[in-house]
Symmetry: C2
Subunit: 196 residues, 2 copies
Amino acid sequence: MRAGVLFSGGKDSTLAALLLDGFYDVTLVHAGFGVGEAADHARETADAIGFAFDDATLDDAVAEEAVERMAEDGFPRNGIQTVHEAALEAVAGAGYDAVADGTRRDDRVPTVSRARAQALEERHGVDYLSPLAGFGRGAVDRLVDEQLEVEEGPAVELAKGDYEAELRELVREHGGDELAAEVFPDHVQTRVTGRR
Amino acid sequence: MRAGVLFSGGKDSTLAALLLDGFYDVTLVHAGFGVGEAADHARETADAIGFAFDDATLDDAVAEEAVERMAEDGFPRNGIQTVHEAALEAVAGAGYDAVADGTRRDDRVPTVSRARAQALEERHGVDYLSPLAGFGRGAVDRLVDEQLEVEEGPAVELAKGDYEAELRELVREHGGDELAAEVFPDHVQTRVTGRR
């Protein structure tokens, strides 16, 4: 069975892929808007951990909706949720038997409710998998320590393939540096560089 | 890291163990009341699929509470939930780094809410893992077909190690054959006999 795993190059989506490996033929899929080099960074990480890679370009209308929402809110949560839902739809419609993501039990965003998962499955005839849904923050941290090599740095500098990198640039284009700094206050991010 | 996986010999707890294998040093733990041969059946299945095995005997007071509840309800759901919670407590207190079960995304019983999971983790200093929490019914069925050899039969005849086998006998002792048949109407059950 083929699984497309939504992939940012971060710890959670990497760990989700490792949990499915051996049960599914896993392809890591970067979904984004073609802004900057996010997809390239995700591809590099996929190569480093030895998985097949693909990318999916989401509709510009999704970016616009997310950016407007974040500019209005002043925080990223709802905009990121919008993008994640669009990314799931894109990968679910791309011919895989299953679409997966790295959402964890203790995550607040993005979230995929059981009802939304079942609707996605019925609409596209795929299975939706969230391999980390049954793992809390502590368990994920301990597994990452054992399984992965990670690099840490300020989010604005760390070259990564997550939604934030692209959305920060789109918000900057929309409302300038000040709005970008308001919506995405700088914080420490991590990026996977390999397997232990 | 050592994980104790609550184990009945059924498909879900077996699949949960397979998903954790390679990430944890897995021991399959049968929790029950020492009624009949439930623990022996679970041990046979654990041997057949190549995992370490242990058993935990739960307090008689738990059995009494569950049986009284089921006799009153006329259905097993709340009684099984009571036993599952006691089983999690027992394994969480047995020295493992993590305690796991086979609860699935689409299950109605037993369920472990995020709040209950976090409380269990804090109380015992362990991680609680539900590896199938991010897998729906269809995905679990497809993984079982690919990974496991299973045997099917009427629940009353199939020698298995789940809560139902023991609780049915305890309900029968409490209220006779009629009550046992009311609480546990016969249905088709499956038991894992090996890996593919």
